[in-house]
């Protein structure tokens, strides 16, 4: 399997693979003079081996009793790796990319490019600021790019139609970026003579 195929990782996610967390000692149980210390597993690879071991170790309780001076790593399943909610499915109906052309008091005007049907001409539209997520309002500037999408979302509650405006979070050009572009231009000019 190719090293960049995601299917192996996806399979791991969907099996609820054991995750890794920071190595912190937690007091597991205190009984009379005995202290049980449990360490979290440090890596998925170690967890994989350790889970197989722990299933046998957990049933043999005498092996779990430890002294404080020589703690034994007793791995446990900490958490499943996060997985995308299987219940949510998205079907894209329409997608435009917009570019802000004018900012007014309570709305902004934009040119929309249809990304679902590339044969359609650009259109202009106005959007109210109250249609935006509060944190996206700070991103509205002349020339800012955004995605306007209309999708079906299928979840546990059934199907709903969702219209969403998301501003693209593009960082401004840095001096280094400009320098790289300039260098590329000079190289191309040199090649073309």
């Amino acid at each position: 399997m190719t090293s960049t195929a995601a299917s192996d990782m996806q399979n791991i996610l969907e099996r609820g693979f054991v995750g890794a967390v920071d190595a912190t000692a937690e007091p597991y149980q205190q009984e009379s003079s005995r202290h049980y210390i449990e360490y979290s597993v440090l890596s998925p690879e170690k967890a994989s081996r350790s889970c197989e071991e722990s299933q046998t170790t957990a049933e043999d309780t005498s092996a779990i009793e430890l002294s404080l001076s020589a703690p034994k790593i007793v791995p446990r399943k900490i958490a499943s790796l996060p997985t995308a909610p299987h219940s949510m499915n998205h079907k894209l109906i329409q997608l435009w990319e917009g570019r802000v052309e004018e900012i007014k008091e309570d709305c902004f005007a934009a040119i929309l490019t249809d990304k679902t049907n590339h044969n359609l001409p650009d259109e202009s539209a106005e959007f109210g600021f109250d249609e935006l997520n509060i944190t996206d309002r700070a991103l509205v500037r002349i020339g800012s790019l955004f995605i306007w999408s209309i999708s079906y979302e299928d979840g546990y509650g059934g199907r709903r139609t969702v219209s969403e405006i998301r501003f693209r979070r593009l960082r401004p050009w840095t001096k280094q970026s400009l320098k790289r572009v300039k260098n590329d231009q000079e190289e191309i000019a040199r090649i073309l003579g």
């Binding site: 190719t2 996610l13 969907e14 440090l42 958490a79 894209l92 693209r168 979070r169």
Partner: protein, 225 residues
């Protein structure tokens, strides 16, 4: 052509990474995701893993994506077509910030899951992609997975692998077929990530269109109705 039950895109980078960097709040601090999206990671229970060897989390509100980073791999997946451009932006912006990250391989991947209407067609697809004549020594041979490798016109990818198998997102007895593509790029010497970012940007749309056409043609192959 039936609608896909589910469709996702993934970017995989193979190189040298510091997993501990890729915490949700780092992305917020760099202005790449919203604060509430980072907060959604742990909203419904612990779904965040951050160590020096491995980081993984899933954003479940707003721009929904899954991220996993190991020391040698960076994998990001998004299953909402409306947010695929956002995922591309996130990857490109991240590695324009971390511009000295060495990267030797990249995968631009897509997976799509299609429901097959009948048991007969389910068997027919398996037999068409992997004829059973050669396997007559086996009793009840069944196709479990087919992987084919090739290239596409005008693409500098080393290869494109297409894989067809029963869907793990909609496991048996559902008759849902997973058809996935992996467009694999490789560089002879260790390379900074900026080259990968440029290739990713320039191939993002074409990789999707090709994958979609390929998966649809495979799904419809030999269909008589």
């Amino acid at each position: 052509m039936p609608e896909a039950e589910s469709e996702g895109r993934t970017v995989v980078l193979v190189g040298s990474f510091n997993p501990a960097i890729f915490q949700p709040m780092w992305f917020v601090k760099e202005g790449l995701i919203r604060n509430e999206e980072a907060e959604s990671v742990t909203k419904n229970g612990p779904k965040l893993i951050v160590t020096s060897d491995f980081t993984a989390f899933s954003v479940e509100e707003g721009f929904q994506f899954q991220l996993e980073v190991r020391k040698d791999r960076f994998v990001i997946t998004c299953r909402n077509p409306a947010h695929w451009q956002l995922m591309l932006d996130l990857v490109c912006q991240t590695f324009e910030i971390l511009e000295h990250t060495p990267v030797s391989q990249m995968g631009i991947n897509r997976d799509a899951h299609y429901r097959v209407n009948s048991a007969e067609r389910w068997k027919e697809i398996g037999d068409l992609l992997a004829p059973k004549n050669a396997w007559h020594k086996l009793l009840n041979p069944t196709t479990r997975r087919v992987m084919i490798e090739g290239t596409r016109d005008g693409c500098t990818a080393k290869y494109i692998q297409a894989t067809v198998e029963p869907s793990s997102r909609f496991p048996l007895p559902n008759r849902v077929l997973s058809i996935s593509t992996n467009e694999h790029y490789e560089w002879a010497a260790s390379n900074t990530v900026l080259n990968s970012v440029e290739i990713l940007k320039s191939n993002w749309d074409d990789a999707y269109m090709f994958s979609k056409a390929l998966t649809e043609s495979v799904f419809l192959f030999g269909a008589t109705k």
